[in-house]
Subunit: 117 residues, 2 copies
Amino acid sequence: MSGKISTDLIRGNTVTIILNVLRQGDSYGYEIYKRIIDLSDQQYELKEATLYTAFRRLEKDGLITSYWGDETQGGRRKYYRITENGIEKYEENRKEWEVAKDILNQLITGGDPDGRE
Amino acid sequence: MSGKISTDLIRGNTVTIILNVLRQGDSYGYEIYKRIIDLSDQQYELKEATLYTAFRRLEKDGLITSYWGDETQGGRRKYYRITENGIEKYEENRKEWEVAKDILNQLITGGDPDGRE
DNA sequence: CCACATTACTTCATCTGTCAAAGTAATATG
DNA sequence: CATATTACTTTGACAGATGAAGTAATGTGG
């Protein structure tokens, strides 16, 4: 599993992916990490380092906020919540993806000399 | 036009896009540059610097070869031709894109709380 | 005839996102 | 009690994309 698809094909979608998970409710790093592997049918693993660096950026940009969970006993968990701006950003990115997908299809399969298009 | 879609959404597909153009016949830098803008309906411009750096890489990797055109008068043109390995690479990348597209759709729109999926 | 747009190619420094690696620390399990 | 798993963090390195600057020839409108 994981690493099945080139990371460069995902690049630029990381933020949208994280925001999409958070749209479904507050969550913390490790859970989001697992959720993404799950959503991708074990075909893509967003590495932890990437995930946590993205959190920093998202928080700095005001697209998410964070708070520590109140686990009295044991493992601390830092929860993330999507903001209004985050939701807007998600909607934008989603639309952008729909457009990019079509363009990419055209660029990758367009003008096919084998007539498969 | 151009720059409409984020470059990070295209990243990783540059090579596939170039190989796809060359599958349709030998071509030279500037023509390929124009062709990509054209194929994308003026929505995406692969910058010249990106294109030419990609040529270097592709040639080093044996996916394309190059030769100077015999324009006796004026503007020199360096033509590129796709190799057997290049064609194989294209087929691979194309398949990888098909897979990545589905996974990305799932990751970006999956588990939608608005029930749009 | 000349200024400017366009064709055509090149190089280099910089930026950004991704990730390997290494680490800390607690809990669960056999 | 050793090992796996959960959970979070930081840092350095790398690769691909691009801005910017440059060279040079040809075409074109005035």
